[in-house]
């Protein structure tokens, strides 16, 4: 009986061309699109130089030196403008940010005081601004440190020995100081202190963007397609086939179990196709923790099918299923990390995210495909997904059987 019901549901699902396109083609397109956005192929955001307007009101040798050093930085592409013109470019959204080197820049540095530098940015592009700021600071901090130190040593020599030593000796000392700070003199120059950053990853060039795109999109689209499949209960009630099933020897629990099982099987098929897609199209290594990947796919499919049936069980009409599922899935996807990577969330929202299927599935796929966390940690995610599935399934069966008793 249950096998016949499952076979019928799967057959119906595969005959629905629109549903097929939404379940398979759309997620594939979205994964490809989002992986490009998140920067897994074709160059990441970090590799693309950020435009920076450079406005030099000081026009001294020191400000010129700063301009050259910024120009040499790969992460920046300088655009030279006057202050007002540069501000307009930022306001119009054509350039993300601008660095103003104010008058007295060189003197302030020589005196060891605060440099008149000002950074302007487009408020609507804070993420890009962060990238520009990172590249800018990597040049600016050592430059200002060096110039400031050099200026302070010169001032100290002048104050302490100007009246005690002959002028030619003082000049020689200044020349030696400049030589010591000179970057051309590799043997004697003061070594710059910079923070060396090394990305720690299981393998070099791990495609995190692709993993985020795959995990986020596939879980969200899975929830949509399974909810659509679950809503066939409502359709069956409206067309009379549910009543006809009840006239037959089939029991209500068999009907709901078959719906769950067919949703689960469909979810597995959908996940397997998407996993195969990222493996074949983007060479994502899916075999590094294959057993736990299989468990994760099963867990995600189980949680999604339980959720889909629960939404159908609590809804009174097809329209209600559509609107309710749209709201819940979008909220869950936004909170759970399908749309925006979780690291951008405040801590409070990250805690709320734990109540979503998306969170555990996405985190699980990160662990499985990107990190090297071991089986036990991965099983926690799988376990949480099974828990979600068990809770939603229990509620769905309870509500469905109660509703049947009331409706007929």
């Amino acid at each position: 009986m249950i096998a016949s019901l499952i076979r019928k549901d799967i057959l119906q699902a595969f005959k629905d061309k629109k549903g097929m396109a939404l379940s398979f083609i759309l997620p594939i397109v979205l994964i490809a699109l989002f992986s490009m956005v998140y920067g897994s192929f074709g160059g990441g955001m970090e590799d693309k130089p950020q435009d920076l307007v450079f406005c030099d009101e000081d026009s001294t040798a020191i400000s010129q030196q700063l301009k050259e050093e910024l120009h040499a930085e790969k992460g920046l592409r300088l655009i030279f403008r006057q202050l007002e013109e540069g501000k307009k470019l930022v306001l119009d959204g054509e350039v993300t940010s601008m660095l103003l080197v104010g008058k007295g820049f060189a003197d302030s540095i020589a005196a060891g005081g605060g440099a008149p530098l000002e950074f302007f940015y487009d408020e609507s592009k804070e993420m890009e601004m962060g990238l520009t700021q990172g590249a800018l600071l990597s040049v600016l901090m050592p430059f200002l440190g060096e110039q400031s130190s050099k200026g302070q040593v010169h001032s100290f020599i002048d104050e302490k020995y100007a009246n005690e030593l002959p002028e030619d000796i003082i000049d020689e000392i200044h020349a030696d100081i400049d030589k010591q700070f000179s970057t051309d003199n590799n043997e004697t120059s003061v070594e710059k202190t910079t923070l060396k950053s090394t990305a720690l990853s299981v393998k070099e060039d791990m495609p995190w963007g692709l993993i985020q795109a795959f995990a986020g999109t596939s879980v969200m689209m899975l929830l949509f397609s399974i909810t659509g499949m679950g809503s066939s209960i409502i359709k069956e009630r409206d067309t009379g086939t549910l009543k006809r099933l009840l006239y037959s020897p089939v029991q209500p629990w068999q009907i709901i179990t078959a719906k769950l099982a067919s949703g689960f099987i469909f979810a597995i098929i959908q996940m397997v196709i998407l996993v195969l897609f990222v493996w074949l199209a983007f060479q994502l290594d899916i075999f590094r923790n294959f057993t736990s990947l299989v468990l994760l796919v099963i867990g995600t499919a189980f949680a999604a099918s339980g959720f889909g049936i629960l939404i159908a069980a609590i809804s009174k009409s097809q329209k209600q299923v559509e609107s309710l599922s749209l709201i819940i899935i979008l909220v869950m996807s936004a909170l759970g990390g399908s749309m925006i990577p979780l690291f951008l969330f405040p801590e409070f929202l990250r805690n709320v995210a734990m109540f979503t299927i998306n969170f555990w599935a996405i985190d699980g796929f990160y662990d499985n495909l990107g990190r090297d966390v071991g089986m036990i940690t991965q099983l926690v995610n799988v376990g949480m997904l099974f828990l979600f599935g068990a809770i939603t399934t229990s509620f769905a069966v309870f509500i469905f059987t109660k509703r049947l008793a009331r409706d007929f």
């Binding site: 009986m1 016949s4 019901l5 076979r7 019928k8 057959l11 119906q12 005959k15 629905d16 067309t239 009379g240 086939t241 009543k243 006809r244 099933l245 009840l246 006239y247 037959s248 020897p249 089939v250 007929f408």
Partner: protein
């Protein structure tokens, strides 16, 4: 074969069935007539055990429905009022599914589906989706889906609603063949002609109560009716049934008025027609048409319930 003993069903304050009792013999074609909301579908739902009665009991072939639900469901086939099929599946896929669900073994299912499709003259369209079928074709598949497991008892809940005249006649032939095969058929309908044509016995239900039951002849005898006068008046006539009954008490047994139509039972309609028309003319009631009708089911129904069947 079917024994219904004083079943009642309450939905909140609404009484759908009120101590309904009836018996249907093995191989009998029994029709239950009643207006919308009379309790026909509730009755079928209770007999087929998807709705529990508030009180009373149902037996099918000696099996109590509340105890032997599973066994009963194997013995019955239900043709629902709705076209309860999967529109995106083909006819053959639908029949295969409903056959399996009703416990038909795979080894015999293929043969039975083919036989049913040929019997219903739909074999050539077997691979078409149900959504592409006409209303009549859908109705035929809807009936076939209830026959595949060869049930002993068939419940048909208004199975010819919305069907075209040609398909209707074809469907009647199917029902007659099933009846000839010895199936027990419990039938509900709005259509008097099909009930008159097909039924062995008729039950009339209103407000959840069985108000009359028997063969067509015996129903006529119960009401002592032979002929009825049917007189249509102009639209704005304010005639009352009392007016005629009181004016001609020696002649008229009963008068029913529905939409400016008078249904008058007299002892000799042909003879009394002239006197009644003269009376109406004298009182300025404009008559559009008048005819003497042999008593049929519709008139019996009107006489018993005070309303037309399609109300």
């Amino acid at each position: 074969m079917i024994k219904i003993n004083e079943i009642s069903k309450q939905f909140g304050n609404f009484t759908a069935l009120d101590k309904l009792s009836l018996h249907v013999k093995k191989g009998e074609f029994y029709s239950l007539l009643g207006p919308n909301g009379a309790g026909k579908t509730t009755c079928i739902n209770i007999i087929s055990n998807i709705t529990k009665p508030s009180s009373g009991a149902v037996e099918i072939d000696g099996l109590n429905s509340s105890i032997n639900s599973k066994e009963i469901k194997k013995k019955i086939g239900v043709v629902p009022q709705e076209i309860a099929l999967y529109n995106d599946l083909s006819a053959i896929e639908n029949l295969n599914f409903w056959g399996r669900i009703n416990g038909v073994l795979s080894s015999v299912l293929k043969g039975r589906v083919e036989e049913a499709l040929r019997f219903l003259d739909l074999y050539d369209q077997r691979n078409q989706r149900i959504s592409s079928y006409s209303g009549g074709m859908k109705r035929r598949i809807n009936i076939a889906a209830a026959l595949l497991h060869q049930p002993e008892v068939l419940f048909m809940d208004e199975p010819t609603v919305g069907i075209d005249p040609q398909s209707r006649l074809f469907t009647y032939e199917i029902f007659e063949k099933l009846h000839q095969q010895g199936k027990t058929i419990f039938y509900t309908s709005h259509n008097m002609e099909e009930v008159e044509r097909l039924s062995d016995r008729i039950g009339i239900i209103d407000h959840g109560k069985l108000i009359a039951e028997g063969r067509l002849d015996s129903l006529k005898n119960q009401l002592s009716m032979e002929e009825t006068l049917l007189i249509s008046l102009e639209e704005k006539s304010n005639i009352t049934s009392d007016f005629l009954a009181k004016t001609l008490p020696d002649m008229i047994d009963s008068v029913k008025i529905q939409n400016n139509q008078l249904y008058i039972s007299t002892r000799n309609a042909t003879k009394d027609l002239v006197r009644i028309l003269q009376l109406l003319d004298k009182n300025n009631f404009e008559v559009k048409s008048a005819e003497v009708k042999k008593v049929n089911l519709e008139m019996i129904f009107l006489e018993l319930t005070g309303k037309k069947l399609r109300e």
